[in-house]
Symmetry: none
Subunit: 231 residues, 2 copies
């Protein structure tokens, strides 16, 4: 399972360092910043699964930051930590769309549990390995590298399997092409991008016997893998 990546904004250095170590100890990839400047750029360049924002930051406070972030990335989950412990503060935070609001001082174990709650909810499909899963009328098995349609078994290559796995993981939601390239080839060069195009073309062909399956192109962004009644 891939490490979840957390963006953490906290200006208290001693606290930040403890939290960072704890999260890293649990296998998270942590990007820590003492202030909110250039946060949007950071989100663009790194793949981020969760944002943790302190509310009282120098200059731009956590609430303002959250608003900016969710404007551009409405599906990126975030939570607040804060010494502002009034009910009204908590409510303001939650209203902004925060998945949680932890009052300071918080217990580290509680933080971890709450993070796991958010992240696990956000990626419901996990262990695809060694399990056959249905894609419309097809049956896909990443371990066997097979795609079955009505008694016909098609043996897939490694990359075909890899790409279908990515599609399946993000079924009915958006796949960012750049992320796919990074995860599959390790870099997102122009030529890898063309390569992926070729594979998508091939996979579209493989899956063409069930018309309820579609790989929609989000030009300039990626793809959306749609499986379901299309009426």
């Amino acid at each position: 399972m891939k490490k979840a990546s957390i963006l953490y904004v906290e200006d208290e250095i001693s606290l930040a360092s403890i939290v960072k170590d704890t999260l890293q100890g649990q296998g998270f990839l942590v990007h820590w910043y003492p202030h909110g400047q250039d946060i949007l750029t950071q989100i663009e360049t790194h793949h981020i699964d969760l944002v943790i924002l302190d509310v009282m930051l120098p200059k731009q406070n956590g609430f303002e930051l959250a608003e900016k972030i969710s404007l551009v990335h409405p599906d990126l989950p975030f939570l607040f930590t804060s010494a502002k412990n009034q009910s009204s503060d908590v409510i303001q935070g939650l209203k902004l769309g925060a998945k949680d609001y932890l009052k300071k001082p918080f217990n580290l174990e509680e933080l971890l549990l709450r993070i796991n709650n958010i992240i696990s909810l956000n990626q419901p499909l996990q262990a695809i390995q060694n399990k056959s899963i249905a894609i419309g009328q097809y049956i896909f098995n990443a371990f066997d590298q097979t795609l079955i349609f009505a008694d016909t078994v098609r043996n897939l290559t490694h990359l075909e399997t890899e790409i279908i796995s990515h599609l399946v993981k993000k079924i009915n939601s958006d796949l960012i092409k750049k992320n796919m390239l990074l995860q599959i080839w390790g870099d997102d060069t122009q030529s890898n991008s063309r390569n992926l195009d070729v594979y998508i073309n091939k996979i579209r062909d493989y899956l063409s016997q069930d018309s309820s399956i579609r790989i929609v192109t989000l030009r300039g962004k990626g793809y959306r893998f749609i499986v379901g009644p299309s009426e």
Copy 2:
């Protein structure tokens, strides 16, 4: 949208009554019980979307109850409310799989926000998926990327779809151009702004067959998408 159904176990009658009224006022269907007996039967007979458990209950406490429930219904989300406010209690509750743990006394608005967080997270996709919506005499489907007028299906591009989605979301109210640019392109440069102008022009054309639909320009601000008799 269907009413979400909540199972609520709380032995303090006066509190329970207030919470119940509040939840019902928000459109939830509430099943309240002062103790945990026969809860599993209740879950079998009614469809339940969320369980709220007080921790300190007579006989069987909330933790025990939660264990029993999640054994049989591992995907049914639950949260605790409790006057047991020790960190260790919270952690114990979360470890059992609770989606949240509210310390008493809690603010009712906070409760509502946290409930909404849990319930909306639990049904993230269906809502968007494959839902056609009427725009005057047109039918728009963001998922299929189609716009239908009297048997004629127009396939939309990704950006066209994106922009119409934004219009629809703010139907009959103001759309701030800057926000649209940020959400769609990630920045609000001059050239993206001209680009949006081009798309608005195109979409006005697409929607021109129903004269009750208008995209009014709010010069220097954005647009207002008006659908309805044009008094």
